[in-house]
């Protein structure tokens, strides 16, 4: 545990060393939050509800989803692909720490740094534009979905980087994944606004479990009749994706070769 705490601390220090980078990154995220917030505020100019969502519930969803996605999607694993391509990965493999745990510790540091700033951004939006939030509800259920969301995101991100074992073109699949995540994970709108067949089809994919269901749970809009089904699927994806990531890691290590260093 002690080495992982050190990894966590070192990652935080890395951010402190590259402050400008991090601040510019957060500025980008803040702009995205503003766009979504204002778009939905404009929609509610002429109406008080949208589908099952009153204005304050929709705005709360958008703001909570932004906050939760910051934590769930925050990751340092994107660098692994480049490390595999240039051979640097060998330094990490040789370390007497589990590779998965090492990167999970780095990811948690990334998430902590991001969430601190995201909270500040949320406070700015609430203060500057008088946004009213629904108080967080169903905290226990939220915690279950939230932890699963973090793990699902971690394993998918690892797999996207492990592609580097087989090809140097690692950024394009990640770009495709990011595009998918933005739209079918519910960052622009709650997925239950979609036509029911599309919504139900999405629920069997891992995407809604990243931050849509945690956010919906937090604003008290989750459908009680299907909670067990949704919980089952979130655990299902954690287990499946963990084994897939492990399989890719082991197979990749066997195939892996590099020059120099």
């Amino acid at each position: 545990m002690l080495p992982l705490i050190q990894v966590f601390k070192t990652t935080i220090r890395e951010y402190a060393a590259y402050r400008l980078n991090f601040i510019l990154w957060r500025l980008r995220m803040f702009l995205n939050l503003l766009f979504n917030f204002f778009l939905w505020s404009a929609v509610f100019d002429t109406r008080s509800t949208f589908g099952p969502f009153p204005k304050h519930a929709m705005i709360s969803y958008i703001l909570y989803a932004n906050l939760i996605s910051t934590f769930v999607l925050g990751s340092r694993t994107a660098e692994i692909g480049a490390y595999i391509n240039d051979g640097t990965i060998i330094n990490l493999i040789l370390k007497p720490v589990s590779f998965f745990k090492y990167y999970f510790a780095r990811d948690i540091a990334d998430k902590v740094m991001n969430i601190v700033f995201a909270l500040l951004e949320l406070a700015i939006v609430i203060w500057l534009f008088n946004a009213t939030l629904v108080l967080p509800q169903n905290i226990m259920l939220f915690a279950l979905f939230f932890i699963n969301g973090i793990l699902i995101s971690f394993f998918i991100n690892l797999m996207l980087s492990f592609i580097g074992f087989w090809t140097p073109e690692i950024w394009a699949p990640r770009f495709l994944f990011i595009m998918l995540v933005f739209f079918i994970s519910g960052s622009y709108f709650p997925l239950n606004l979609l036509p029911p067949p599309v919504y139900h089809a999405l629920l069997v994919t891992p995407f809604p479990y990243l931050f849509f269901l945690p956010s919906l749970t937090l604003i008290g809009q989750i459908d009680g009749a299907v909670i067990l089904f949704q919980l089952f699927f979130s655990y299902f994806w954690v287990v499946i994706l963990y084994h897939l990531a492990l399989y890719m890691w082991k197979t990749g290590n066997k195939n892996f070769s590099f020059w120099g260093r």
Binding site: L20, L34, T46, F175
Partner: protein, 263 residues
């Protein structure tokens, strides 16, 4: 004149090299293309979802909002086709490679601004233009005057886009920070995907008077819809030329401060 001919010839050679590079990373290119198509498709879907339950947003109909969004896409895609090389500027600065560019007997913008045409985005620009025309014709308010003004204002937007890219290059020389700056520029212009009326003050004032996102992204679509005054047209041209002038001054200032990194 000879200088212009030489610059065009070098631009042609660099573009030829960029084409070869595109063919070398075919699979990656296809993935990026699919990602971009997915993004546009989902925004269409998102707007359809909103307009399936409401008729207007801030006085704009579904078709009108689509015109704004497509205009944004045309300008953004054109800028990516032409100025992709800006995204690769940082390694040139930190490695000291920029020295070699500045020493060469042609304008550095040919290399650092226009030197890496993005051919993949050319595939996207055609459907954007066709869709814009299709929606405009469908709206039933076809007017040649508006179309000519629209094209002229698209050109004007490209002047602002050029100015922004030059500022990013100059900022890169002074701080070695390019990657996030260019992405912040992308995020800022993305705020102009839809009419600026959706934003409240002071955000709207910032995007109108301080960072001319409105001039860049909204004004051409307003001209097409026939809602732009002549005063608005002249202001747009004036702002864009002012921006270009400021960007060139900033570029010259950055070059004076350049000390050559790495090497």
């Amino acid at each position: 004149m000879n200088g212009l001919k030489k610059n065009i010839r070098i631009f042609y050679l660099l573009s030829l090299n960029a084409l070869k590079i595109t063919f070398q990373a075919r699979i990656g290119g296809i993935f990026f293309l699919i990602g971009k198509i997915i993004r546009v498709f989902f925004i269409f879907l998102f707007l359809s979802l909103i307009f399936s339950r409401t008729r207007i947003i801030k006085g704009y109909t579904f078709d009108q909002i689509l015109l704004f969004y497509l205009t944004f896409n045309i300008i953004d895609t054109l800028s990516q086709i032409l100025y992709r090389e800006v995204y690769r500027f940082r390694p040139l600065v930190v490695s000291g490679g920029l020295d070699m560019v500045l020493l060469k007997p042609f304008h550095p913008f040919v290399r650092v601004l226009l030197g890496g045409i993005d051919y993949l985005d050319i595939v996207l620009i055609v459907p954007y233009i066709l869709l814009t025309l299709g929606i405009y014709i469908k709206m039933g308010s076809f007017h040649w005057g508006n179309i000519i003004l629209y094209v002229a204002l698209l050109g004007n937007s490209m002047i602002v886009v050029t100015a922004f890219h030059i500022i990013v290059l100059a900022f890169g020389i002074m701080t070695t920070e390019v990657d996030h700056t260019i992405m912040i520029y992308r995020d800022l212009i993305s705020m102009g995907r839809f009419p600026l009326e959706i934003y409240k003050e002071p955000i709207r004032a910032v995007f109108t008077f301080i960072i001319p996102i409105g001039v860049m992204m909204n004004v051409p679509a307003q001209a097409l819809l026939g809602t732009l005054s002549w005063r608005g047209v002249f202001s747009a041209f004036l702002i864009s030329l002012g921006m270009l002038y400021i960007s060139l001054i900033f570029w010259k200032y950055a070059l004076k401060k350049y000390q050559s990194w790495g090497g």
